[in-house]
């Protein structure tokens, strides 16, 4: 496989804290895949993301971009931050400009787009995230979920090579979660963006991911394609993460309704269709 970003044996302890947040973590992000980072609160997901775009430098170990170790010099950092887009868990943390449209346009000018092009992109992003009506509203008038959508739009409009999403669905309702997933699907298909999403929604992870990382206490506990990772029921139960509902349901159906060799369904619609077919037979 082709690795976009590699984390090798990285340790990091927050100043004033006794236990390390990252404790010898090693993982590699495959290029062009939709990855999910699973783990409990406090296992170090957010800290890991801050290492992936060079905000924090590891105490031990290295972070590599396409095989080249991070140098942490100014020019290098500003380049890496253009290539790696990070959407924080708390949107408040990254909104800069004061109106929604202005905030989304931030970064487009520095990326060398003309004003007209930038305006067109902003307009597209507004529509895709359902923000057309908030165009001219100041950011501090929005609800948390709306702010989150502005933050997502502002980072995704820049089309980074690697997109890091820290619990992106945390404040979103069903409609906007679906809009977000559709948008992720689109940029993954059209731009070939590599995406890493931190979440503890195991069902969402199963439905969406090509590649799964499980993190526990600042280390990598499991890694692999979803079918392999979620088949390790013993490890997942041990970590109190459990397995996806769909996985469980399939396991209950398999010997009696479907042959064991049949591929697992990845979403509810798929399962329904197969059940319908099975019942007709």
């Amino acid at each position: 496989m082709d690795w976009l970003l590699e984390i090798e044996d990285v340790c990091y302890t927050y100043p004033g804290s006794e236990t390390p947040a990252l404790n010898g973590l090693t993982m590699r992000v495959p290029r062009g895949k939709r990855c999910v980072l699973l783990g409990h609160n406090g296992c170090g997901k957010s800290t890991l993301f801050l290492h992936m775009n060079g905000i924090y430098a590891p105490e031990r170990g290295v972070v590599k971009w396409k095989g080249e170790a991070f140098s942490y010099r100014r020019t290098f950092l500003s380049q890496i931050r253009q290539k790696v887009g990070l959407v924080f868990q708390d949107p408040e943390q990254q909104l800069i400009a004061s109106t929604v449209a202005e905030d989304i346009s931030y970064g487009l000018c520095s990326a060398g787009l003309s004003d007209d092009e930038a305006k067109r992109k902003v307009e597209q992003a507004l529509v895709r995230f359902g923000l057309e009506h908030f165009r001219e509203r100041p950011v501090h008038h929005l609800s948390l979920g709306q702010k989150k959508r502005v933050a997502l739009a502002g980072v995704m409009v820049l089309e980074p090579e690697l997109l890091l999403l820290d619990e992106p669905t945390a404040y979103l309702d069903r409609l906007h979660t679906r809009l977000l997933m559709k948008e992720l699907e689109r940029i993954h298909r059209e731009e070939g963006t590599t995406i890493v999403m931190a979440t503890h929604d195991i069902d969402l992870a199963y439905e969406w991911a090509d590649w799964v990382f499980v993190i526990e206490d600042g280390r990598l506990a499991l890694e692999g394609a979803p079918n392999e990772v979620f088949a390790r029921r013993d490890v997942l139960e041990g970590l109190q993460l459990g397995v996806p509902l769909l996985f469980d349901v399939w396991e209950a159906l398999v010997p009696s309704f479907f042959p064991e060799t049949e591929a697992r369904p990845r979403n509810v619609a798929d399962l329904k269709e197969r059940l319908a077919r099975c019942l007709v037979d």
Partner: protein
């Protein structure tokens, strides 16, 4: 109050009139007030209020509250201007007095001249405040910044102002969250307990503000902020002919009024 000013600036009916036009009107009127005299002040105040409540559609209740807040400060500053104090006998006070109060050898009084001075000051202040409110209530802060940038104020200054402005809201939100959390978790009764709680809240507010400040700077770094904050101005502002015409005509009338009453 700050939040409200800002909200109105973004939602008022003059939002799409070019910020430069509004700033020019506001600033010219402000300068005019500085050189004009009492009757003109009243006219300026009335006219600016028409802009604010009539054209911009700011609810008059809010406008009155804003004026009330300022009037309170003005009222507090008037007594030192009006009151005179003297140790001479009452017979020696030559000017006309409106009010007099004596204790021992001292007499405290308000003279007619003092009254006039104070009321002239009050009118001047109110009319200049109305011009200022016109700017604050109709031009959003970011557009003021854009204009500053255009007339050549260094980007570093305007970006700093913008980040500070964002931070003011982060701060205010932290205050509000803490306050709501305090009330939701059962604010305690009794003065001394309340004061102790308030002490605790202020300490936590400080810690939280520092933390949020750090987070905001991490967030800015992640978006590649390196001191250059370029955004595409989003609003399609236009210069309104109708407002320009009215502004010019009324301004000439005001100058004429000033000349006529000042003779």
């Amino acid at each position: 109050m700050k939040i409200q000013l800002d909200t109105l600036a973004y939602t008022n009916r003059l939002r799409h009139v070019s910020p430069i036009q509004k700033l020019v009107i506001g600033i010219i009127m402000l300068c005019f007030v500085m050189v004009a005299h009492a009757p003109t002040h009243i006219a300026v105040f009335v006219w600016m209020s028409v802009w604010i409540v009539g054209y911009a559609g700011i609810p008059w209740r809010i406008y009155l509250r804003l004026l009330g807040a300022i009037s309170l400060f003005l009222a507090l500053s008037l007594p030192p201007i009006m009151l005179e104090i003297t140790a001479r006998s009452i017979a020696e006070i030559t000017e006309q007095t409106v009010f007099i109060y004596s204790f021992g050898v001292f007499h405290v009084y308000i003279g007619v001249a003092g009254m006039k001075k104070a009321s002239a000051l009050l009118l001047r202040s109110l009319s200049s405040v109305s011009c200022l409110y016109f700017i604050l209530l109709t031009v959003p802060f970011t557009e003021i910044l854009a204009v500053l940038r255009r007339i050549g104020v260094p980007c570093m200054v305007t970006d700093l102002l913008l980040v500070m402005y964002r931070f003011v809201f982060v701060f205010l939100e932290t205050v509000e969250q803490l306050w709501i959390a305090y009330k939701a978790r059962g604010a305690r009764h009794g003065f001394s307990r309340k004061m102790r709680d308030a002490g605790g809240l202020v300490a936590r507010l400080f810690a939280r503000t520092v933390q949020r400040y750090q987070q905001l700077s991490i967030g800015l770094a992640a978006r590649g902020f390196d001191g250059d904050l370029r955004v595409v101005a989003s609003s399609h502002a236009f210069v309104s002919r109708r407002y320009a015409a009215e502004a010019a005509a009324v301004f000439l009338l005001l100058v004429a009024l000033e000349w006529w009453t000042g003779r």
